[in-house]
């Protein structure tokens, strides 16, 4: 395990300290909790957004705390959902009186822990609503199961619901917008290498020099299948096809998130984006905006995911709204 860390058990706390040292104008940490909230929060009368999950997905989620996106982010242990008390603490700290929306990724652990936090908040009469992101099209037959995972598409929910809240929408409205975004976004990912959870000390799986893992999540879990490495165009085409098969994007305008999993150079993400654009162009799907970079990562994993969000006028306006956070700034 080659990592620049001090103690495997201390990575989350030390990281959060580093974030606060780097971005005091944006965030502060709640004393005793692995929770980042806006430096100048809570914002009175504004619906607050809290997201989070296991750590290892940086800049998600703390990097998106700031004007126009999140109000609080809860950092669990690496790849492990944060505990209810941490989430509850975040909720209390960010509530500006207009209620709190929890943005949860669809993992059993996240759902249970956030749910328990919501129950706690309820007991203290804080208005809490929640939405569950499940954008990953890799898992197909999910009717009787946990359902689809939430992966990089989640960033669109942060951006759009964040803008809705900033605009002054009430909790129901912000939730409606978040749910519309969730309904409209699909993602799929792949990887060339595993990643190593610091406390585990060994890679999450083994891949041969010519193999890749397809349809995988963001926690080092294996994917739906393994394949020989293809060209960037073939890989990208596979991911995009799966997404387009899953929802009808025809005639629509979309936003694209070409997301790196942490260890993939931007060069490769742009090469992949070239193919995403050309497929969408062929299909007559208009790209309104594209984001390329590391938004929802899996530690040092080399790999990428594509997310495509179908836009309507409302989503477009909210997506285009100003945002100012450590990891996402838009004029």
């Amino acid at each position: 395990m080659k990592k620049m860390i001090n103690h495997p058990e201390a990575v989350v706390e030390e990281m959060l300290e580093g974030v606060v040292k780097a971005h005091p104008q944006y965030v502060r940490k709640l004393e005793g909790f692995n929770v980042l909230v806006r430096a100048n929060g809570p914002v009175n009368g504004k619906v607050a957004l809290v997201s989070g999950g296991g750590s290892g997905h940086e800049p998600s989620h703390g990097g998106f705390v700031g004007r126009g996106m999140l109000d609080g982010a809860v950092a669990g242990a690496v790849f492990t959902s944060p505990t209810p008390d941490q989430v509850f603490e975040a909720v209390k700290a960010v509530d500006g009186g207009a209620g709190v929306l929890l943005v949860i990724k669809n993992y059993t652990g996240d759902i249970m822990n956030f749910e328990m936090a919501a129950e706690m908040a309820d007991m203290e009469n804080i208005k809490v609503a929640s939405v569950v992101v499940n954008d990953d099209v890799a898992v197909e037959n999910s009717t009787w199961t946990t359902g689809r995972r939430g992966i990089a598409g989640t960033v669109f929910i942060h951006k759009i619901a964040g803008a809705a809240a900033e605009k002054g929408m009430n909790l129901d409205e912000v939730k409606r917008v978040a749910e519309k975004t969730i309904a409209n976004v699909r993602s799929m990912g792949m990887s060339l290498t595993p990643c190593t959870v610091p406390a585990a000390g060994k890679p999450s799986f083994e891949l041969a020099e010519n193999e890749m893992e397809v349809g995988l999540g963001i926690h080092g879990e294996p994917g739906t299948h393994r394949d020989v490495i293809k060209t960037a165009d073939e890989i990208t085409a596979h991911l995009v096809e799966k997404i387009l098969e899953d929802m009808d994007y025809s005639q629509s305008e979309v936003a694209v998130l070409m997301n790196g999993l942490g260890g993939t150079p931007l060069m490769e993400l742009y090469i992949m984006n070239r193919k995403v654009s050309s497929i969408l162009e062929e299909r007559g799907i208009k790209v309104h905006k594209t984001f390329v970079g590391n938004f929802m990562t899996s530690l040092e994993m080399a790999g990428a995911s594509v997310s495509i969000l179908k836009l309507d006028e409302e989503l477009k306006e909210l997506l285009d709204a100003t945002a100012d956070t450590p990891a996402f700034t838009q004029l």
Partner: protein
């Protein structure tokens, strides 16, 4: 089971989790995200620290303290689930200094109901329930059939073990392993495995103590 025995059982679980943490993590790497052992160990280390402060309390308080420690330190799926299980268990014996056999059946039942209510899984979903439910059934049946604690314990453990084995044969419908689809077949469920080890710790302490 006296309060002291309960304390011993919990201390034994702390040890067993620590000893098997790599094993649980390896199992979770195969079909999950490779943190099950890390999670449980973090949780039971916290439990250990808390235990000394409730040494003189009733069984209910002790179990609730375990529950709260787990809930606030484990995270992931197993944290709320085991936490809920211990919470429900504690409620059954609130104020009691001793746990009777009848209590134990009630505890087991309530704990499982708690896990089901929280996680919405059922038998055959390849989760801890696949160890716990058969174990509970065996335990209850043994007593209904008038068997000794020793025999009942052995049958309970055997059933839990078979449950773990059974998880190898099925694909997961719940938890992270679910996303693997058919690829999860052939691997035993980490949570079922940790459940088995906890049950075994209880039996070990009780038989040593006897």
């Amino acid at each position: 089971m006296t309060r002291d025995q309960l304390m011993k059982v919990l201390e034994e679980i702390v040890v067993v989790v620590e000893e098997n943490k790599e094993f649980f993590t390896d199992l979770d790497q195969a079909i999950g995200d490779g943190d099950h052992g890390i999670n449980l160990n973090r949780g039971f280390k916290a439990v250990k620290e808390k235990l000394s402060s409730v040494r003189d309390k009733d069984c209910g308080t002790i179990l609730k303290t375990v529950a709260m420690s787990l809930i606030s330190t484990v995270g992931g799926a197993s944290g709320p689930l085991y936490g809920t299980a211990f919470m429900k268990a504690g409620a059954v014996v609130a104020g009691k200094e001793e746990i009777t056999v009848e209590d134990s059946i009630k505890i087991f039942d309530e704990a499982i109901q708690g896990i089901i209510a929280r996680g919405k899984a059922s038998c055959g979903d390849k989760t801890m329930l696949d160890a716990l439910i058969p174990a509970f059934e065996a335990w209850k049946t043994a007593f209904e059939e008038g068997e000794s604690i020793e025999d009942a314990s052995q049958k309970m453990l055997e059933a839990a073990y078979q449950g773990v084995e059974y998880t190898k044969t099925i694909a997961a419908n719940k938890g992270r392993a679910n996303y693997l689809g058919e690829r999860s077949i052939g691997h035993q469920d980490p949570g079922a495995t940790s459940s088995y080890f906890m049950l075994k710790a209880i039996v070990d302490v009780m038989t040593k103590g006897a």
